[in-house]
């Protein structure tokens, strides 16, 4: 229902809404003018985390990082680039073997694309840079989890003197993409009056056009100003046409797929980062004939579908965790894991959203011991506001001045409030494809997607710090479970970094939510003991793929 219709139907709304409008417009104006810069706080480092020696030169005052220095020197960043080069070479070899059946051809093509750094505007980062296989296809750079909420620097360095951050960087912690293809296209379930499916933390990869939300998601980062920053979807195809696997793309999607007549300035435009002032806001600055534009658009869809095929492949989403083998009767959970599982589906109520395919063990439950689903996804694909505090360490809050391209990523600076699905519904990325969804903003703002718990525990090595949740505020599974357990027990009216004396942030103090509206109270006071929290963490370890029975 449009606002006009709403107000005509319910005239009582007028007075209330107009009063609220007047009051809040004034308040918001004052607030917008008085937004302070992000606080500079010297947070303590997570227990057990040590700054790698090669990173010590990259640490700036105020718990900040020289991002260009991290990209060049950090051991995890170096490891990831080496891994992706190796995987890219393996996939290239496989693509040229002539032995792949059609099923594996499209998966391999997706693998080639996902590990190819040349598809970014500066030919320097691949999708996998932010989605490390060794970290469950989430952020694989430990020091970023500690200093930037897990958000990753993108393709474009910022060279403005004294700028912080000195590289464009994403506004959120990258979501792992294993099992992402099992999320259906975003839809509003009428009988449940709830959104299901979609990809991205805020559901904006609806999959409405390709009918594949994971493929729709794969079209996002290549064009995101903060990530791979291509200025035009056709630039991705242009770069793909220059790759060593261009003929393989045509083998999969048809001869002539890449036969596009590129304009003389294609290299100039395709090396200009998205958002640059010179592009004047044009989302398709490459001048192509109508026929070539249509072909490039078709190619961009197929490019994304191949990535989705890889994400759904046995390499990424194989259902080979210890828990899967437990369901198959080929593995036995330890006592602690079993206790954690019983808490997961009982006292902790975790499986209310992280569906395990079985019944509850809480009072009155009737678990027969038989799995209702033999490949449970550990998500219901819905959206919730968990009441996470604002992560003041996100460099995004400082990206409020123009870079050398005349682009300002976050004009609101520290005043930016991440409304999650509310941003998408409210038009932050443009109008939602289903215009009726906009009216659902009131009950969905502040909500973020329930990620699968599968592979949440996967880390590249012992001692690795992994960032959790959309803003990476939590940096261990213990913290995650403790937050669910005690959010409302240790609630304080403070911003992160300002917990009262005598408390410890994330242990005995939880700052206020970034967005208090629609805060879910299913969680917040679960009554788990510290040992029970540990047991749930032990169970979560059984959801990591690659178990050998």
């Amino acid at each position: 229902m449009s606002c006009t219709k709403l107000f005509k139907t319910f005239p009582l709304l007028w007075s209330a809404a107009l009063t609220a409008l007047a009051i809040l417009t004034v308040a918001a104006t004052v607030a917008a003018q008085a937004v302070p810069p992000p606080p500079i706080i010297d947070f303590s480092l997570p227990a057990g985390f040590q700054i790698p020696p090669s990173d010590s030169q990259c640490i700036l005052p105020g718990h900040r990082l020289d991002l260009q220095c991290i990209i060049k020197n950090d051991p995890d960043a170096i490891r990831i680039r080496a891994e992706e080069a190796k995987l890219e070479a393996q996939a290239l070899k496989a693509s040229m073997s002539g032995k792949l059946d059609p099923y594996h051809q499209v998966e391999t093509l997706g693998e080639l694309e996902i590990f190819d750094p040349n598809l970014s505007v500066n030919n320097n980062i691949a999708c996998s840079y932010c989605h490390d296989p060794m970290a469950g296809y989430a952020n694989g750079v430990s020091i970023l989890s500690v200093y930037t909420g897990g958000s990753n620097p993108g393709s474009v360095p910022i060279t403005v003197h004294g700028a912080y951050p000195n590289n464009r960087i994403a506004k959120r912690n990258p979501q792992g993409y294993s099992y992402s293809t099992y999320y259906p296209p975003l839809h509003f379930n009428q009988s449940q009056a709830d959104f299901y499916g979609g990809n991205f933390w805020d559901g904006r990869a609806t999959g409405y056009l390709l009918q594949n939300s994971a493929a729709n998601q794969a079209q996002g980062p290549p064009l995101d100003t903060q990530e791979m920053a291509n200025p035009d979807p056709a630039c991705v195809i242009y770069k793909l046409s220059l790759s060593k696997y261009s003929s393989f793309f045509e083998q999969v999607f048809g001869a002539g797929s890449l036969e596009i007549t590129w304009p003389a300035d294609v290299q100039t435009i395709c090396s200009t980062p998205a958002g640059a002032a010179v592009l004047k806001g044009n989302p398709t600055p490459l001048k192509l004939s109508a026929k070539d534009r249509t072909l490039a658009t078709k190619d961009f869809g197929e490019f994304a579908q191949a990535i989705a095929a890889y994400e759904g492949s046995d390499s990424v989403s194989p259902f080979t965790s210890k828990f899967d083998y437990y369901l198959a009767g080929k593995a036995t959970l330890t006592g602690q894991e079993q206790n954690g599982y019983d808490l997961f589906r009982g006292k902790g109520s975790c499986n209310t959203c992280h569906l395990d395919g079985r019944a509850s063990t809480l009072t009155g439950g009737s678990d027969t011991g038989q799995a209702a689903s033999l490949q449970p996804l550990f998500t219901d694909t819905t959206y919730n506001n968990l009441g996470l505090p604002k992560n003041v360490e996100l460099p995004w809050y400082s990206e409020d001045t123009p870079d050398q391209w005349g682009f300002t990523a976050n004009p609101l600076g520290f005043g930016f409030i991440d409304l999650g699905m509310g941003l998408f519904l409210d038009g932050y990325y443009g109008a939602p494809p289903n215009l009726s969804w906009a009216s659902k903003f009131p009950t969905f703002e502040g909500k973020f997607q329930t990620s699968t718990a599968r592979n949440a525990a996967k880390v590249p090595r012992p001692g690795f710090v992994k960032a959790y949740m959309h803003n990476g505020y939590l940096t261990s599974l213990k913290e995650v479970v403790h937050f669910y357990n005690t959010r409302d027990v240790y609630r304080y009216h403070v911003l992160s970094g300002h917990c009262p004396k005598g408390t410890v942030e994330k242990v005995t103090c939880w700052p206020e939510p970034e967005d208090p509206d629609n805060k879910n109270t299913t969680i917040g006071k679960l009554g788990l003991t510290p040992e029970e929290e540990d047991d749930i963490v032990a169970f979560l370890q059984t959801l990591v793929d690659g178990f050998k029975p």
Partner: protein, 148 residues
């Protein structure tokens, strides 16, 4: 108008809309016929600080949609409990009983509040649950700490 400003405005409109459009008409309609007999529950004060409090109650699993809204109607006068706090709660179909919790924010310190509870499904259909009027008092500001 910036996005943040528009968002703030939308929040205000949304709260009003949710109250008048979404919940109240449904509640009114439900009184016209098929509504099952309400079960009286005994909500309790889970915790209170100076400006916020949590109310909780346990009831038979109301079923229906997975997403429910716990609702607390409250005020400083037991005959005028005109304010409303609404919190999303998700139910687990495998549970025989469900705990509802509602977060009450923006309260005044050192003040006595009176309240009753209710809940609805995600589409506004009311659950058959009511309570007698209860009361609690917020802490004074100088003794405020975490809501325990």
């Amino acid at each position: 108008m910036t996005r943040a400003m528009r968002s703030r405005v939308m929040i205000a409109v949304s709260v009003t809309a949710m109250t008048l459009l979404f919940l109240q008409p449904r509640l009114a309609l439900a009184g016209e016929g098929s509504r099952p007999t309400s079960v009286n529950v005994s909500p309790t004060l889970e915790s209170a600080a100076d400006t916020f409090a949590y109310i909780r109650w346990t009831t038979r699993n109301p079923r229906g949609t997975i997403l429910h809204y716990g609702i607390v109607h409250y005020g400083t006068d037991p005959s005028h409990m005109d304010w409303m706090a609404v919190s999303p709660n998700r139910i687990n179909l495998a549970h025989s009983d469900e705990v509802f919790r509602v977060s009450m924010d923006d309260l005044q310190p050192d003040t006595t509040y009176y309240y009753t509870i209710s809940s609805t499904q995600a589409d506004g259909t009311p659950d058959p649950v009511t309570s007698a009027v209860q009361q609690f008092k917020t802490r004074s500001t100088n003794e405020a700490s975490a809501g325990r």
